[in-house]
């Protein structure tokens, strides 16, 4: 089972929900009859889940993407490569070919259409994937984009491939998604059975929730909503969910104590019973939705 935790607006509590829900399921694994629990941080630009759960590092993999390399001695300056590149990642300056790796989408067109094999593809580092085992038995995987690399999608794609090869269908996989509605989010939620959208009860939260719901509809994804910091705003999110038949599966109350625990990098379920109960209900609601 794969569920994604996403949100239109940033800072609504995606990571808070992901780490607390994953830790809760891992701790209660036996009672809940769950085999393995896996938490994956796909917010590769700003991965934060790892700040809340500490464990033993099991594996590190450097992740690469492929970009062309110019072999001057083979080049006949036919300019085919620059003509076929739709991303302006290749340019002719005088008698040399300049490659801009940050613009390259790794489509291979320049490389494979070059009549002289003068542009072989080579591996270029984009980030790192780390796998941890947490004390409560939780498996945690985090991918981290190198600073200066602009495209998150290839790293997200490779992280999905890693999870699919390491864990089978029986594992309960929770994916912490990047914020927003653009390409990294779409890549992240692609094969999720349910997308849980975390929002806050303010006009900003509602506006961005609507954008996220529209995106998930376009992708044909089943979604559910969780309101975080319940109590700071109004009930417009409730009304919106009711009118649009989107299940509202939990409300995490606004508490100063929770904000403080979060700021220190601590789990809320360890110290606030009220929130542990909310997480418990959220888990059973998710189970119902995924089965149904």
């Amino acid at each position: 089972m794969k569920i994604a935790i996403a949100s239109g607006k940033g800072g609504t509590g995606k990571t808070t929900l992901a780490v607390n829900l994953a830790s809760y399921i891992a701790e209660e694994k036996r009672n809940l009859n769950v085999q393995e629990v896996v938490l994956v941080d796909m917010d590769v630009e700003e991965p934060n889940s790892g700040l809340f759960i500490k464990g033993e590092l099991k594996k590190t993999e450097i992740k690469y993407r492929m970009v062309p390399e110019w072999i001057e001695s083979k080049c006949t300056f036919c300019k085919k490569c620059a003509n076929v590149c739709n991303f302006n990642a290749l340019a002719y300056i005088g008698v040399s070919v300049l490659i801009f790796p940050e613009l390259c989408h790794s489509c291979y067109a320049c490389s494979e259409l070059c009549p002289e094999d003068a542009l072989p593809m080579k591996a270029d580092r984009m980030g790192e994937l780390r796998q941890y085992i947490i004390k409560n038995g939780l498996h945690f995987i985090e991918s981290r984009l190198d600073i200066g690399i602009e495209q998150a999608v290839p790293l997200i794609k490779q992280t999905h491939e890693f999870i699919d090869s390491e864990f089978d269908e029986t594992a309960f996989k929770i994916i912490d998604s990047p914020p927003g509605t653009s390409c990294p989010v779409i890549e992240t939620v692609k094969d999720a059975e349910l997308v849980v959208l975390v929002t806050e009860p303010t006009p900003f939260g509602l506006n961005d929730l609507k954008l996220a719901v529209d995106t998930m509809k376009e992708l044909d994804k089943k979604c559910a909503v969780i309101v975080n910091r319940d109590g700071i705003g109004n009930d417009d999110v409730d009304k919106y969910c009711a009118e649009n038949n989107i299940p509202l599966i939990g409300k995490i109350p606004h508490m100063h104590e929770a904000a403080k625990l979060y700021s220190q990098g601590n789990l809320l379920i360890d110290d606030i019973d009220e929130i542990r109960d909310v997480i418990k209900d959220i888990y059973s609601n998710i189970k119902k939705l995924v089965k149904g």
């Binding site: 940033g10 489509c107 067109a109 927003g180 961005d208």
Partner: protein, 292 residues
């Protein structure tokens, strides 16, 4: 004209509320650009009139003309993005996966593949209720190319500021460290980083500050919710010292941010309290620094 970009790395730090407040304080001297294109919220506070609307196309999407297709499968073989599934014995393009590289079209022996313009989103030029100009956008549902849309918003806003001799352009930047944020900050005069003293806030701020340093852009920092964790506030200050980033303000935790959003106002209009005074002082400091 000086361009000031407000970013945060992490969402939910109060970036948009602070940006909109700076716009109120700058009044007629300011043109605004909302570059947080996949979760644009500024319009909720500033009531723009959406006077000018246009579609923004960027990049291409492939389409297979079935009548011309001989089902040789070459397009599928070369595609690195799994964008050519076979459905009902027909080769078709999965628009969500297609990167627009055009490699398939180059290898098609019957020229059965055409490249269409890709709709990236809607783009608006508005007058706000404050009677200044806001350039903003809405990313098309499940669209790619948010970086290109960000560049479009910034370029148009810059043009308006220059043509009308308006001294400042304030940009609400995108989250993360990938292409939309790079598109938001490249070539600007000052980056204002809004952060919060939480483990996530510190982590995300340090990554985004590293990125800004790579670009060699002057930056300043503003800590919101500064009193929720004194230890991390100290760690943020140490980081800022090391990177020689001036700290221009510490705003205490205050629900006035949420209350102002609920009232549809900016913080400085909604209240005359401590937070508003700090934001006013910050605007003065920002102007001093950007004029240096």
């Amino acid at each position: 004209m000086k361009e000031i970009v407000v970013i945060s790395g992490k969402g939910g730090t109060g970036k948009t509320s602070i940006t909109a407040s700076l716009a109120v304080l700058g009044d007629k001297d300011v043109v605004l650009a909302d570059c947080d294109v996949d979760a644009a919220d500024m319009h909720l506070l500033l009531n723009p009139d959406f006077a000018h609307k246009e579609k923004f196309y960027s990049g291409k999407i492939a389409e297979i003309i079935q009548d011309d297709c001989i089902k040789c499968g070459k397009c599928k073989d070369v595609c690195r993005f799994d964008a050519v599934p076979v459905i009902n014995e027909q080769y078709v393009i999965d628009e969500l996966n297609c990167e627009g590289c055009e490699y398939c079209a180059y290898v098609c022996p019957t020229n059965a593949i055409v490249m269409n313009d890709n709709l990236a989103g809607d783009f608006f030029i508005s007058e706000t209720r404050l009677n200044n100009t806001l350039v903003h956008a809405k990313l098309a549902i499940a669209a790619d190319n948010s970086g290109k849309l960000v560049t479009k918003v910034r370029t148009e806003a810059k043009k308006i500021a220059e043509e009308n001799d308006i001294p400042y352009l304030i940009v609400d930047g995108s989250p993360g460290i990938g292409c939309p944020v790079v598109a938001s900050v490249t070539g600007s005069n000052l980056v204002v980083i809004v952060t919060e003293p939480t483990v996530s806030g510190l982590h995300d701020m340090s990554r985004v500050a590293e990125l800004i340093r790579k670009f060699g852009i002057k930056s300043v920092c503003l800590i919101n919710k500064a009193d929720i964790n004194a230890d991390i506030t100290i760690q943020i200050k140490k980081f800022l010292d090391k990177y020689e980033i001036p700290l221009i303000a510490e705003i205490p935790y205050d629900l006035v941010f949420a209350d102002a959003i609920l009232a549809g106002k900016t913080v400085v209009e909604y209240s005359n309290g401590e937070v508003s005074q700090i934001i006013r002082d910050s605007w003065k400091r920002i102007l001093e620094i950007v004029r240096e």
